[in-house]
């Protein structure tokens, strides 16, 4: 049980770091934004493992949900910012 959890945790961590790399280095901003949302989502899973359901819910709803939407809202209005 513990090892399983642990390996899932490590997996999550590695995934998060990978996705985070995508966030800061992706060529397209949209990708970066999606990746950031994904990091948040992974984090909320990790929060569950850390016995923090409240935080997990919040992170999922706000961190990965609303924030990502906000990003895209703005992205859509600035044409990616390159001009």
């Amino acid at each position: 049980m513990n090892t399983v959890l642990l390996s899932i945790g490590v997996l999550l961590a590695v995934a998060m770091i990978g996705v985070a790399w995508l966030t800061i280095r992706a060529t397209r901003i949209a990708t970066a934004m999606l990746a950031a949302g994904l990091v948040s989502l992974f984090a909320s899973v990790l929060f569950l493992f850390l016995a923090a359901p409240d935080v997990a819910m919040t992170e999922a709803a706000i961190g990965s949900g609303l924030t990502t939407f906000l990003f895209f809202f703005v992205l859509g209005r600035v044409r990616g910012g390159q001009s």
């Binding site: 985070a20 966030t23 390159q82």
Partner: protein, 118 residues
């Protein structure tokens, strides 16, 4: 688990900051900061975590009487809740700024936004 989370959190913070300090696009900076914020939240929760205990919610599984020995520290979680929301607030504000700046200057390159200096 807590070690993993904490280390991941720190790494996320560093990566987020790296992104925020090297990318020129303001949107990317904001996105990077949100990653760093996630990292901070991870660290915070990880500090409150105690091995072998459960969430600080009292129910049938965790009766009131042995809560002290069964639950983990609830305080960091409360802090993280607040921190997340504050983070969203700041992010939203920065996004608004980015939008207005774009309206104003037609670019989101932060190095072009240097009319105040010295």
């Amino acid at each position: 688990m807590d070690w993993i989370a904490m280390a991941t959190g720190f790494i996320l913070i560093l990566m987020g900051l790296y992104g925020a300090l090297t990318n020129r696009n303001i949107l990317r900076i904001i996105v990077s900061f949100s990653v760093a914020n996630t990292g901070v939240n991870l660290v915070l929760v990880a500090v409150g975590y105690m091995r072998g205990r459960t969430a600080p919610i009292l129910d049938e599984a965790v009766p009131m009487t042995d809560a002290v020995t069964r639950i983990i520290d609830p305080l960091p979680q409360a802090l993280v809740l607040t921190a997340i929301v504050i983070g969203l607030g700041v992010t939203a504000l920065m996004l608004t700024y980015a939008y207005k700046l774009y309206e104003e200057k037609g670019t989101l390159d932060i190095s072009k936004c240097r009319d105040l200096k010295w």
